[in-house]
């Protein structure tokens, strides 16, 4: 009798344990799904940033006519854009274009010799991507190499 009772108890406990393990498994699956969804969201943000880089590279506001493949900016155009209007078109981004080796920050008077255009200056909290670009000097008609940085606030 005692043995039979023990057997039944074992059986009941085993059954409950299986159900419990199944529930744990289900909870784990749901939380893995949640992690995947969150990762998908941050991947989408990075993808958006790469798209913004490409959009800026071909933007008629910045690019020299005849260079539809993009990334040929004009110094006078770079000096004419405002952060507020750039953000109205491209969203809440930071944008800087600079020529390595040229530390002159661009103002109106020195657009043809300067090397740093802080269109929407990066802050400490910004993270972003950078790509090489060209800058066409409208007065001297020379093409220089530079870097464009585009970022978002974290």
């Amino acid at each position: 009798m005692r043995l039979a009772q023990t057997n039944i108890m074992n059986y009941i406990i085993l059954t409950f344990f299986i159900i419990f393990a199944l529930l744990i498994f289900v909870i784990f699956m749901w939380s893995m799904l949640a992690v995947q969804v969150e990762r998908g969201a941050s991947e989408a943000k990075l993808e958006d940033l790469v798209t913004t880089l490409k959009m800026l590279s071909i933007s008629p506001y910045l690019v020299k006519e005849g260079y539809e493949e993009g990334s040929m900016f004009v110094d006078s155009k770079l000096s004419s854009v405002s952060c507020e209007d750039i953000r109205k078109i491209f969203g809440d981004i930071d944008v800087e274009i600079y020529i390595p080796g040229n530390s002159e920050v661009c103002e109106d008077e020195n657009y043809d010799t300067c090397g740093i255009w802080q269109v929407c200056p990066f802050s400490e909290k910004s993270i972003g991507y950078e790509v090489p670009v060209n800058i066409y000097r409208i007065n001297s008609k020379k093409v220089e190499i530079g870097i464009m940085k585009v970022g978002v606030h974290v």
Partner: protein, 158 residues
């Protein structure tokens, strides 16, 4: 009784092993899709920017693209240097200025149809990149009357 307990323990252990394998495989799935897209864009932009930049020499060596074409087809002098020397020098200087610190490059210049007709071929940079598994590349064609020149840039992390 011991047998049942052993069964219970075995069952729980099997479940735990499955869950661990599952979570590990999910976590190790790297964010490579966006990285690849970015690095491909980077390679393309780097090559395009390089070839369009002015060298400062003028004439047949006005832009880096002009100098490349000269180096492959004629290799005359611009000033006191040959086109090939200017290509090598300028590439190191320009790429050095703009390329990310953790990246390396290899530039391959050859006439169109080089695999069939041969001709001059120039490689500048880290030649080991050509065989590396994790690399990104960009191609451009420089059109010159007579013969076109294919330019390939390969970049990789150091």
């Amino acid at each position: 009784m011991f047998k049942s307990q052993a069964e219970l323990v075995a069952l729980v252990m099997v479940m735990i092993v499955f869950i661990i394998i599952f979570s590990l495989t999910s976590l190790f799935k790297n964010n490579t899709r966006v990285s690849d897209e970015y690095y491909n864009l980077y390679a393309h932009n780097l090559l395009l920017s390089l070839i369009r930049t002015d060298t400062g020499y003028g004439g047949i060596c006005k832009s880096f693209a002009d100098t490349i074409a000269c180096a492959i087809t004629t290799n005359v002098n611009c000033g006191t240097k040959t086109c090939e020397e200017i290509v090598e020098e300028d590439l190191k200087s320009l790429a050095g200025k703009v390329i990310k610190e953790n990246m390396d490059y290899l530039l391959i210049i050859e006439p169109e149809g080089w695999e069939f007709f041969g001709g001059k071929r120039i490689e500048i940079g880290n030649k080991a990149l050509a065989n590396r598994e994790k690399r990104w590349s960009a191609n451009e064609k420089i059109m010159k009357k007579g013969s076109n020149v294919n330019v390939k840039l390969i970049i990789g992390l150091k």
